[in-house]
Amino acid sequence: MKIAVLTKAIPSYESSIRIDSTSKWIDEAVVNFVVNESDSYALEEALQIKEKLDNSSEVVVITMGSEDNTSKVLKDGLAKGADRAIFIKNEDSNTDPLTIAKLFADNIKDENFDIIFSGLQSDDLGSGQTGVLIGEMLGMSTATLGIETDIQESKIKVKRELESGWFQWVTLPFPASVSIQSGINEPRYPSLKGIMGAKRKESKVIVGQPGLQKQNFINLFIPKNEKATEKIEGDVDGIVAKLMDVLKNKLRVVS
């Protein structure tokens, strides 16, 4: 069984996000890049499947972007137990999901993966389309928001999360592209042995040639406040006194 895991470097939650001078992208120099959260769950799911099946299975981590931002992501994947890595080098800050998916599909189609796992969405652009688009482009069956998987003879059963606490099982024949919801498992930490071993694993670099975008960012902007928000800040005692006043006298929710 050959399993691909798509993983992306995104700005960490703590990173300060500043619009750059083009107003079409952010200032990457002040950002700390980390692995997209749901992608970690996707990788863990792949590693657990490999461990359950047999050692002839292979897990390949794949990412795209600039070298500076993504190198950590592949190292992390290899250290956790992926067998090899594919890096699609692309310095363009592409924002069209179709352009991005096409770059992946064109460059991995010869691998003939049985399964492609991806996180359900990236916490930067958040389109949530890449895994499904690639699946369609490569003639695979697709499912999204997987919260449980079960490998059977040449097919995968996926428990899909629906809205408001509803679920649905779907059975997909291989090859299948499945996006993974966070919380499906407990992602492991890389072991020291894993970190040392990662250096010896194969990491292939492909230079991507992105096509024209069919949709484009006109401008990034800071969202406007929807409400007349009252700021409460300062020392802790002052904040607590103010909160007590709001709860007691303004909202009258405590006596």
């Binding site: 939650y13 703590e14 300060s16 996000i17 069209d96 999901p97 179709l98 916490d123 930067d124 652009l125 958040g126 389109s127 389309q129 499904v132 688009l133 699946g135 369609e136 069956s141 697709t142 499912a143 999204t144 928001l145 999360e161 809205e163 408001s164 606490g165 679920f167 649905q168 099982w169 779907v170 059975t171 997909l172 024949p173 966070s182 919380g183 069919k214 949709q215 484009n216 960012f217 006109i218 401008n219 902007f221 800071i222 969202p223 406040n225 007349a228 928000t229 009252e230 700021k231 409460i232 800040e233 300062g234 904040i239 607590v240 909160l243 007590m244 709860l247 909202l251 929710v253 405590v254």
Partner: protein, 323 residues
Amino acid sequence: MILVVLENQRGNIHAFSREAVAAGQSLASKLGMELSILCMGENASSLKEQASEYKAKDLILAEHDMINTYSADGYSKVLSDVITDLSPQYVIMGHSYMVRDFLPRVSAKLNLPFVSDIISVTYDGDTPAFARQVFNAKLATNIESDASNNTTLLSFQSAAFSSDDIELGGSDAASVFEVNLNNEDIKSISEPEFQESSSGVDLTTADLIVSVGRGIESEDNIPMVESLAEAMGAEIASSRPVVDMGWLPSYRQIGSSGQAVSPKLYFSVGISGAIQHVVGMKGSKNIIAINKDEEAPIFEIADYAVIGDLMEIVPKLTEELKK
């Protein structure tokens, strides 16, 4: 023309689809286009019945045994065929979990752009710009579909448009789209939808909710927030990451995959305010949010933005409340 596609949700038109109708009517009137509504697949004839009051040019029915149960394979094939036949300028749906599951398939099949999770539309003359949140809701962006595209697929986030604004008056015509499906078109097998047994905790009826997020940092700090909830007489709830880490049970989760609530007070502690969470609580009458990051998007919808360290504030506030 503009094509709005309705989604079935357990026998009714999905709430997001009703908002999509309002969105479609608004776009059609701004751009001087005609609007058609497509009822497709699961429960389609009943959806058509329920949509009969909506003002539109054409109400289209697309039924087939093989799409009586939703599948990404079947739905994407049929909608692709409809689009190829009708060449609508825009195809509009609500940004539901089903749309996320199959609309990208249509995008890839027909090589058409899909602008997803739109929060608002502005116009530069006849050219619409679609706004969506990016970078975990810290920023938003305006997106333009390239002029060379014959069709653009759109999905709208809940509450981007209001179903109260739907224009009634019925449709001028009704038509049937001849669906063509073969066994080899549908590779995946879907089972019926089901709900997991719930705990009996119904957060939707709670007046006061204290909700905790990633900022709590460790499971060991959960009792601290539970004490605050107890001192206020509030139910405890959380954002997704807290449930993912197993610190609180899933029935405590607020957001698109959890419950949607509108209490008198939503007291948010260490929640950044990602879209998926905000859709579940933005209807709250009052929102107090504590976060140490002044740029946390939760502050955009908060009535009271408390900028500070929850580890210090929460215990002291609990102590005061107990006095």
